[in-house]
């Protein structure tokens, strides 16, 4: 057969594209459920990691059900929209950030560790190459950081990607997000050796300056949304509707 004819080329290309498209659609469809489960399980693992829990060799699913005792969906005025754990889990913070501040639905996860309540807020921002995100767990004073978790889509390994390492995340433990007048000031991520006036700070990553700045901005923007909620000790997620 003459494989150089125009008609042959066009038919060949058409058939090839259709076959490949069908195959990819099939693979994607067949694996969809497994992937969604993985993504959900991964989110649970991330939330648990923010509570300084070592997940190695543990059943994250069962642990999540045990430790995370509740959830809240609030808006920026700290009005509780729902106190369902499942609803809070379903929220995609990335979609919420695209809405105007008043319309955002913000998740708060409530954990109980050794009888003490911890509040976990969801973070999302931009690094150097792509999105970065994380979870910040606060003690029941809604001020002191109990633990932090950060991850990223495509930061440079060894540089910006170090934000996903324990070493960087554990620097946040014990830092306060409010200043002495109970005003929200966030936690600064500064270059090694520098300091920040009037607020708690941690050392950024050498060689990962833009990613470090991204974490700094993410903390400012995302915890800022929760400001009213965090300043009101009375909203605990127990009974209010």
């Amino acid at each position: 057969m003459d494989t150089n004819k125009n008609s042959y080329t066009i038919i060949y290309a058409t058939i090839m594209v259709v076959i490949v498209a069908l195959m990819l659609a099939f693979v994607s469809g067949a694996l969809k459920d497994k992937q969604t489960t993985n993504v959900k399980l991964d989110k649970k693992k991330q939330i648990l990691t923010s509570l300084n829990i070592n997940l190695a060799g543990q059943d994250a699913e069962a642990l999540y059900d045990k430790i995370i005792t509740g959830g809240l969906v609030i808006n920026s005025k700290a009005e509780v929209l729902s106190n369902s754990k499942e609803k809070a889990f379903e929220i995609d913070i990335n979609k919420e950030l695209a809405k105007p501040l008043e319309k955002r639905e913000l998740p708060v996860y409530i954990a109980s560790i050794d009888g003490k309540t911890k509040y976990i807020v969801s973070l999302r921002g931009a690094g150097l190459w792509g999105p970065i995100w994380g979870y910040l767990a606060l003690n029941d004073d809604k001020n002191t950081v109990y633990g932090a978790f950060f991850s990223h889509a495509s930061e440079t390994p060894g540089l910006g990607a170090e934000i996903a390492q324990k070493g960087f995340q554990s620097e946040f433990i014990g830092k306060k997000i409010m200043n002495s007048e109970n005003k929200f000031v966030s936690i600064a991520v500064v270059k090694n050796g520098q300091t920040a006036e009037g607020m708690d700070y941690v050392d950024g990553i050498s060689g990962g300056t833009i990613t470090s700045k991204g974490v700094d901005a993410m903390l400012m923007n995302c915890i800022g949304q929760y400001e009213t909620f965090l300043q009101q000790p009375s909203i605990t997620g127990g009974v209010q509707k």
Partner: protein
């Protein structure tokens, strides 16, 4: 078996590991050698993924080689590679989620690896499926070996770890030793790669240009 591993097939497999190494001698696939070699683990997974994809795309193109219209052959090759890369990436997401998160963009970037197009165009288009498969494996391993050598030095000297495990003891740091941050930058990958090529050529005199 003797037919499967004839002298020619053996040469097809072993050639790319040394004398005809895709990175060291043909200087292909340099881009990813810079990007994924800061740590050992992504380098190994990347090497394996590329090996699988080169081997199977070689087989597919080799099977189709007599039907592919000459004028769109590059496009056909690209579609086959892109489809395989997508499938591998989907499978990783479903069955090895943690690894796929770690590798993030690298898997998608396999499509742009020059070794793939090079092997498809130079070998699979004119050889039988079995030889093409072996050629893909050989080139994939040849690529992986260089990646692992470069990643070994970069992770050891740049982070003091290997495969995420601390190798250089704390006492050495206390004595004033510091990790070489430059090792984590892409330029150092080029310099290490150049050293690898230098040693390789010094050992194999026949590779040296007159």
């Amino acid at each position: 078996m003797s037919k499967l591993f004839s002298a020619k097939t053996k040469e097809v497999f072993l050639g790319p590991l040394s004398k005809n190494n895709p990175i060291g001698v043909q200087v292909l696939g340099i881009c990813s050698a810079l990007a994924v070699t800061a740590k050992l683990e992504p380098a190994i997974v990347m090497g394996l993924s590329v090996t699988i994809i080169v081997a199977f795309s070689n087989v597919i193109i080799s099977l189709l080689r007599n039907t592919i219209p000459n004028r769109i052959r590059i496009i056909v090759q690209l579609v086959v590679v892109a489809a395989l890369v997508t499938v591998v990436s989907e499978f990783l997401k479903a069955f090895a989620y943690d690894v796929s998160v770690q590798l993030s963009v690298y898997i998608g970037l396999i499509i742009t690896n020059c070794i793939l197009m090079g092997r498809l165009e130079a070998f699979a288009m004119s050889n039988k499926p079995w030889e093409s498969f072996v050629d893909g494996l050989g080139n994939g391993f040849g690529y992986a070996v260089v990646l692992i050598i470069v990643a070994f030095f970069r992770e050891l000297l740049g982070s003091g770890t290997l495969y995420g495990i601390r190798i250089i003891p704390q006492a050495v740091y206390d004595a004033g030793y510091m990790n070489n941050g430059l090792m984590l930058m892409p330029p150092m990958a080029l310099i290490i790669l150049a050293c690898v090529i230098w040693i390789h050529r010094a050992k194999n005199k026949d590779l040296q240009e007159k």
